[in-house]
């Protein structure tokens, strides 16, 4: 299977800031590729480099097996994108905006096709109203309609749920699943909300300060065998010494501030708890981190710990 997106050692250096630092990843056909990171992690810069909006300082980008910059126009015909806010011409209607951007994508859909597209994103009724009267959610949906109008193979959505209410977020989630499953599109979706990605992404890439932290299939990242335990005891030092001299050592215990982190299979937690109690270690708290979201929050607030985790 041919990779749709192949990024190798991509870097972007601004004067004093390395926005993207030797980033490599691959998006395969059919992926819903979740691109995670906090605000300012370098997601948007990377996406803009994929769309030729930002010139990379170093590295290679290939889309559909072609060098991006050498085949720019050919490649971009096959890419649809919503970049950050779905900004369109507010003094035009959704219909006119859609038509205009379709032409810019070198396709000339019929009126019927345009209306169908607007219907798909639920804007049919308001198709001829000026966009200035639209809610944020409607604009977002129009942005997606624009991204899809030329039937691209790759769809890039940059923070598509930003500023949306829960219903809007759910709508976008369903739309992404629809595009992936029914329309067989490849999607690259960036977000700073892991739980959103967790529900739609087939693969996840987490970056921080422009660097890749972790990348893998969503199912693997949520592997119960890799559950992270956050532990607080009345005597952390004694506890960590005990753990280090035991079979639990393979869980790579780490102490950070007043917490101990250790990995183990989810099923081993009761035994571990009993083992601690047997050794008179009194627990203040013990929390398994099931969801990648907690994990995500931690790693993006302390790379040191993550490095330990991903070792």
């Amino acid at each position: 299977m041919q990779p749709i997106v192949q990024v190798k050692n991509l870097s972007k250096q601004y004067k004093n800031i390395k926005a993207v630092d030797a980033l490599s990843f691959t998006v395969q056909e059919g992926d819903v590729y979740g691109f995670l990171g906090q605000n300012g992690a370098g997601k948007s810069t990377t996406i803009r480099m994929l769309l030729t909006l930002i010139n990379p300082t170093a590295g290679d980008i290939e889309l559909f097996g072609m060098k991006l910059h050498a085949n720019r126009n050919k490649v971009l015909r096959n890419v649809g994108a919503v970049i950050e806010k779905p900004d369109v011409y507010k003094y035009l209607s959704a219909y006119k905006n859609l038509k205009l951007f379709a032409h810019m994508s070198k396709v000339h859909p019929s009126d019927k096709q345009l209306m169908q597209q607007l219907d798909m994103v639920g804007l049919k009724e308001r198709a001829h109203d000026k966009v200035s009267t639209y809610s944020q959610g409607m604009k977002q949906r129009l942005g997606i309609a624009i991204a899809l109008i030329h039937d691209p193979q790759l769809i890039i959505l940059d923070e598509p749920t930003n500023g949306l209410d829960p219903q809007g977020i759910a709508d976008i989630r369903n739309l992404i699943l629809h595009l992936s499953r029914e329309m067989k599109k490849t999607l690259l979706v960036s977000s700073h909300l892991l739980n959103e990605m967790e529900q739609v992404a087939t693969r996840l890439l987490i970056i921080d300060k422009g660097k890749k932290l972790v990348e893998g299939a969503t199912a693997e990242l949520f592997d119960p065998a890799q559950t992270l335990i956050e532990l607080e005891t009345t005597n952390n030092k004694e506890a960590i010494d005990l753990i280090a001299g035991s079979a639990w050592q393979k869980g790579l215990p780490q102490q950070r501030s007043n917490k101990i982190y250790i990995r183990m299979h989810r099923d081993d937690i009761p035994d571990f708890n009993a083992w601690l109690v047997e050794r008179n270690i009194r627990l203040v708290s013990l929390q398994p981190r099931h969801s990648l979201e907690d994990y995500f929050l931690q790693i993006t607030s302390g790379t040191q710990h993550v490095a330990a985790f991903t070792n």
Binding site: R48, Y91, S105
Partner: protein
């Protein structure tokens, strides 16, 4: 390219801002015409006082003269109005966020930039035609036509009625190049900004500054005068200056200083080429962060 140009024109003419210039010129020209209709004879008489022992007979305040007066006054205003659109072409889209979408489409940046520039030129042309209709044709209708009597600060030119219209055609053609020069400067500046106020104000300031520098007649500035586009924009007036015979008799159908017109035309065209070339260069290098 044609497709892009159509899109750009569509966008320009769907925006309310576009019509500000058309409205403003209409109001301004109409006011001037009204003023001249009411009070123009006094102005003419006042001017004639300086003629000493000469009398001028005939209808001085005719459509041709009104158009000339209007154009002289509009010389500062129309470029400012052109700036409103041209300096907004790139920065305005950066501001509303559509630039990033437009530039991620399968058209090269150069072609997007050129399409926008040509659309600006079309807008400028239409504005100029509008001005021509109002200032020339309406004046001709309202004031009638006659010979064109012009009092310049150093001398007087009298052009026969049947020798005037083609001069206006040429002058408007020249004015088009002048306005496109202004547009190209606004356009260039708009490549650097993410809202249109900055480039609009900067372009206007440049026009005003250059005009003032060109008008001051201070020897210090004489050296730079030939390089100021504003000094060349006023050369349209040369179309209304005739050659004379050895006996100082005006020769119909002649232009006093045609080489000066061509020279200015070349300077203005050079400005345009440099500005647009620079815009494409800047845009190609630019990271679109808006």
């Amino acid at each position: 390219m044609w497709q892009l140009l159509q899109i750009e024109l569509y966008k320009i003419f769907r925006r309310p801002r576009t019509y500000i210039a058309f409205g403003a010129t209409a109001v301004l020209i109409t006011l001037l015409q009204f003023g001249l209709k009411v009070d123009g004879q006094e102005y003419a008489d006042f001017m004639l006082q300086s003629l000493g022992n000469f009398d001028v007979q005939g209808k001085l305040l005719n459509g041709y003269m009104v158009c000339y007066l209007v154009l002289q006054l509009m010389l500062v205003h129309v470029p400012l109005l052109v700036t409103l659109i041209s300096a907004d072409m790139l920065s305005g889209e950066a501001n509303i966020g559509t630039l990033r979408l437009a530039l991620s489409k399968p058209y090269s940046r150069a072609s997007v930039v050129l399409a926008k520039f040509f659309a600006t030129c079309v807008y400028t042309l239409l504005l100029l035609i509008w001005v021509a209709v109002l200032a020339l044709f309406v004046s001709m209708l309202v004031f009638g036509t006659n010979d064109l009597f012009l009092m310049k600060s150093e001398y007087i030119v009298l052009i026969k009625e049947n020798d005037v219209f083609w001069r206006y055609c040429c002058a408007f053609g020249f004015a088009f190049v002048s306005l496109v020069t202004v547009a190209s400067i606004g356009f260039f500046l708009s490549a650097f900004a993410e809202n249109s106020i900055g480039p609009i104000v900067t372009t206007m300031s440049i026009i005003i500054l250059f005009t003032v520098l060109g008008t001051l007649n201070i020897p210090m500035f004489d050296a730079i005068n030939p390089y100021l586009f504003t000094s060349h924009m006023v050369i349209w007036k040369e179309f209304f200056d005739e050659k004379v015979t050895a006996n100082n008799e005006a020769i119909a159908g002649t232009i006093q200083d045609l080489p000066a017109i061509f020279h200015s035309l070349l300077v203005l065209l050079a400005y345009i080429v440099v500005m647009i070339g620079a815009t494409i260069f800047v845009m190609n290098k630019k990271d679109i962060l808006s």
